[in-house]
Symmetry: C2
Subunit: 338 residues, 2 copies
């Protein structure tokens, strides 16, 4: 896919987003009404099928080719001690993804999704956002372009996930920067910090907010100054998927926070995305409310890696199965409602 050369080009791109195919949506909705079940009785499975039809412009949606992209990055803010794990775990887990030992490997097998892991300069962590912008403009563009170019435009669906020790703090900082409130609304225990760690994360968030206060009215600047490489790449991938009208399944708190700046800039920019699950990480629930997104699953998961999105892909498969395979009342000779 194309690359962008500067932030102005990016802002232009976001203003012209493809919309779902309304005609196919109407046909899909009619078909759901004809299938042998009381109207609406399959709930969100019906909505998901119609949503897939509209974005794929297919009367019979398909999920033959599911791409799963996991972006990994390291974060300068880990120097503040915000994570329960050492920063080298990011690279170790990337190796684990490559040898097939992580949760996302297994979940992609179950969902028959093709996993690609993209490590973004793990040896060069971002700047500590309490001291400086996390990313220079050139590094921001590089990561955004990495996301743009990673998307396979022939995919039927895209799963987005991430890995990065310290990135629940980063996601919380982005949310705090975008939506305000208090830092405590956005921080949680991540991979498992104690009470003191939680207090530290809250303080770190406030410091980041104060340092970058002057640019917080620009969502892309929030992402650049308080975000991280993997978050920026996810935002790029979300935009590339929209350009190709590929339905996206976002994962948990970090993936949703990464995509949020697009929706803040242009309401509706995430209409081609569903959120796979509600993370048990504090902050995700409030973020979903701000974005008016209802997650598909709530299984008390908080792993990241795209794990919740991969499980949610199974729900989409169920939706496609019933939409494409069920008989209509006329075909089955079943009496309709009296």
């Amino acid at each position: 896919m194309y690359q962008i050369a500067n932030l102005g080009q990016l802002k232009d791109l976001i203003q012209f987003l493809p919309e779902p195919d309304e005609e196919t949506e109407v046909l899909a909705r009619m078909r759901q009404g004809d299938l042998t079940k009381p109207p609406g009785s399959l709930g969100r499975l019906e909505e998901l099928a119609i949503w897939l039809c509209a974005w794929q412009s297919r009367e019979r949606p398909q999920l033959k080719k599911i791409q799963a992209l996991v972006f990994a990055g390291n974060h300068g803010v880990t120097a503040q001690g915000v994570s329960a794990y050492p920063a080298e775990v990011t690279g170790q887990m990337v190796e684990n993804f490559k040898t097939g030992g992580a949760a996302i490997n297994q979940l992609c097998k179950v969902a028959d999704a093709k996993l690609e892991v993209i490590a973004l300069e793990l040896d060069t962590p971002t700047q500590d956002f309490t001291l400086a912008p996390a990313l220079e403009k050139s590094a921001f563009l590089k990561c955004f372009n990495a996301g743009l170019s990673a998307v396979d435009s022939n995919s039927d669906c895209l799963i987005l996930g991430e890995m990065g020790i310290g990135n629940t703090t980063v996601a919380a900082a982005v949310c705090f920067g975008l939506f305000g409130g208090g830092p405590a609304d956005w921080v949680g225990r991540g991979t498992g910090v104690d009470d003191a760690g939680l207090k530290l994360k809250t303080d770190v968030l406030q410091q980041g907010y104060d340092r970058h206060n002057a640019v917080l009215d620009d969502p892309l600047e929030v992402l650049r100054c308080l975000g991280g490489r993997e978050l920026v790449a996810i935002a790029g991938a979300v935009l590339a998927a929209r350009q190709a009208r590929i339905p996206v399944i976002l994962d948990g708190y970090i993936s949703t926070a990464a995509a949020a700046p697009l929706e803040v800039m242009v309401p509706g920019a995430l209409d081609h995305c569903v959120v796979g699950h509600c993370s048990s990480e504090t902050g995700h629930h409030g973020l979903l409310e701000r974005l008016n997104k209802q997650p598909l699953l709530d299984l008390n998961m908080r792993l990241g890696e795209g794990s919740g999105a991969a499980v949610a892909a199974l729900i989409l498969k169920a939706a496609v199965g019933v939409h494409n395979g069920m008989a209509t009342f006329a075909q089955a000779g079943v009496s309709e409602k009296t």
Copy 2:
């Protein structure tokens, strides 16, 4: 599987239930702690995997052979006009199941489950419970035995569903009989009745409750007098699965109501069951609270047929995938929590 000859034998059987394998459970829990993820970060996927290990007595659980049983029955109480669909739809839908056109056919394909549909004397509806016990004792035993014998004891997991025009009214009557409260706590719109229909269902429930008031302290009598053939068969299948230590996925309101009398008789009798989803049918939420069951999904579904349970089977598959396939910290060379 064995058949029971009388209600006393049934009551004896319920008093001696196999328990999960505690040793395997401990080993499974230890393994979850060793896998390359923060402890607990896969939430309910971890719990489900451990639960499957314990009931299957396998350190690596499997879901190769999933049996889906859908029992169908007709209900005398439909003469009161409690459903939005005519009673002949039960038989028409059974035909639809047989020719593969229903939602449950497609969902079983997605979950790779083997579907069996068992129609229980559709030409002989139960008695209208406002006038007489729904089933004579002999008919009750026959249906219970049909459920007992339908379970394949070599299955790795059992999905239970039902079809029966009028059976949301029947399920509500069973719940009202078991748990009391008011009839309005238990009735909903079913396949889609209007406000007048809802009022009618409420009145019918109160009539049934009053007529059988003398036997409501016996959960099996509640099921016999207010239930229906497919509900009784589900209760039998739940008990057969327990005897064979097969994990069960219950579907929505009707399946859960069918199994509820066992739990009321012997607390813990449904420990081998998860509830696949929370139906949008009024009453299911309250029933789940009484049974202390947290459903796996909440997708605004209310179709029955085992549809929610079949979708939930996909979640179990995800749980098995991560439990069996992930690397441990030691295997992957990933640093543990600091």
